[in-house]
Amino acid sequence: MSESASRGIAGTVDVVVIGAGHSGLAMSYLLGQCSLRHVVLERGEVANSWRTERWDSLRLLTPNWMTRLPGYPYRGDDPDGYMSAGQAADFISNYGTYTSAPVLTRTTVTRVAQSRHGFRVETSRGDWLCQAVVLATGAFNKPVIPRLAEAMPANVEQLSAHTYRNPRQLAPGGVLVVGASATGLQLAQEIQLSGRPVTLAVGEHVRLPRVYRGRDIQWWMLATGVLDQHIDDVDDPDRARRVPSPQLVGTSDRATLDLNVLQGQGVKIVGRLMGIRDSVAQFSGSLRNVCALADLKMNRLLAWIDQWAEANTPSGIGPTERFVPTLVGETSQLELKLGEDIRTVLWATGSKPDFSWLDLPIFDRKGDLKHSRGVADVPGVYVLGLPYLRRRKSSFIHGAEDDVRELSTHIADYFDRSTSQIKSRLRSVAI
């Protein structure tokens, strides 16, 4: 008797949804509307990663009025505010309660494999049999840390955005933050303001003002259709999916956070971290280039917004604005003594999903999940919540709605097809 069989069958359903975050719960709600029997498996509590895997000061990059799930808009009294991680977790938990989602918490999935009639989902509390599996475990399970981290001298402490909580964790002294997406900028600012001098290593990045012409930049991106841009309509889908999160922070004063603001607060900016040699960090000489590109792209977006505003004349907007180009000093610093100038390195170099428990022939050469707009290569397997899964907004909370609606329709069709195939087979037997 195999180990899994000895644990017994916990149940048989049409669909197993793995992960009770916003995507998993939204999918559960729509599967219920399609009358598909399903269960949502969650390793911790609902919205677990929001509660346990985020730094203390984190807030959403989208204003509250945008935070919505299918059938569940934001109803609070601060539509222009930005939720903290805890508030986002509560919002998602309340949604689970509101939709009466069939969630099993504290149930860790250890393996998903094909079985004779579909899939066997092995968990710490018995196995589930099902026809379809929805992977809703999120895009941010594991930090992506470049291999050169292995060359870091032992007297330098290394943290990632996953293990960082607040500056009190850090030794006094210099900090090198690697990565200039939303995460890298927010942490660089917080650590600099705590009194530890920060150097920020900047590669390709996306610069945005928090507020443009009196409206939140996300309002403009939604209104002009940028957030709804479909993955099929972009030139290079792979590249679009790799674009780092824009340099934004959600604070009550709706302040812009960019490299100029950070430099004004004393943060030093350097090029991308390219190597470590003899305890010296080496930075790329392309800092000016990546900053110029980010400025160009921001101005292109602002010009697009202006053009749209002129054609659509939304009420109550301010005059056009342009922002100071990113300031790069006469000469950029190319080297830093690790251990002396730098006591801590904080990797803000991105995250990736963890599908290590997925025992299916479904990965590409680099170990990434193969899928087309959330429909995986193995029929009956679906994935949600990855960056630009179907639209630019896919990884946002409000972005889940359209993706989940379309994928739940796909799943319903999949069941119709399987049922009609069985029926037609039965008919041929009968004849």
């Binding site: 930075f283 000489g285 392309s286 000016r288 190319l334 680099k366």
Partner: protein, 188 residues
């Protein structure tokens, strides 16, 4: 130290170089050089670079003649192969710099050279420049230089010669260490 009794004749005027070292110690501004190249697109990936003058010792200088370098991409890149590939010029530059250094150091150490042959090989995964895989860098993933040297010296002395040449090589430093690069453009 009686190993090299004869005077080496490698054709490097070491006395002049050492003299310059002394002189430039007291005239640090004169030690600032600017190297220049211009290039003009010809057609396709074919490009012609020109090197004519440079600045140094506080004044402008002209080479004895204007040197022209044709660069292109090979036919496997659907190009016409009218010249070496730009990355191959980097290897040429590295070989030229290291070998000149070896000759100068040998002269200074009174080591007679008979032949100095360098073989250079640099690996590159073009998935980087084609934008296929963002984890693959555009440039070389490594450069291997092998020197085959016939000289009146022991293997250890030759190894030391090659090591010292790397320590003093401009191009070795340029490819091994980061450099601040500024690219601007104007419409003509």
């Amino acid at each position: 130290m009686t190993k090299h009794t004869k005077t080496a004749t490698n054709g490097v005027n070491v006395a002049a170089l050492l003299g310059a070292r002394e002189a430039l110690k007291d005239a640090p501004e004169a030690a600032r050089f600017k190297w220049r190249a211009t290039s003009e697109w010809v057609k396709g990936t074919h490009n012609r670079a020109t090197v004519a003058g440079f600045f140094g010792l506080g004044t402008e200088h002209q080479h004895r003649q204007t040197y022209k370098f044709e660069s292109d991409h090979p036919e496997v890149f659907a190009s016409e192969d009218n010249g070496a590939t730009p990355v191959e010029f980097v290897l040429v530059g590295l070989a030229g710099c290291l070998t000149a250094g070896i000759a100068a150091v040998a002269q200074n150490r009174n080591i007679q050279l008979h032949s100095v042959k360098a073989t250079l090989e640099a690996g590159m995964n073009i998935q980087g420049i084609l934008g296929i895989d963002p984890d693959v860098r555009n440039g070389f993933d490594g450069i291997k230089v092998h020197y085959d040297i016939d000289a009146d010296a022991s293997a250890e002395d030759i190894a030391a010669l090659v090591a010292q040449s790397q320590k003093r090589s401009a191009v070795f430093d340029v490819v091994a260490n980061p450099t601040d690069v500024t690219v601007t453009s104007s419409k003509s």
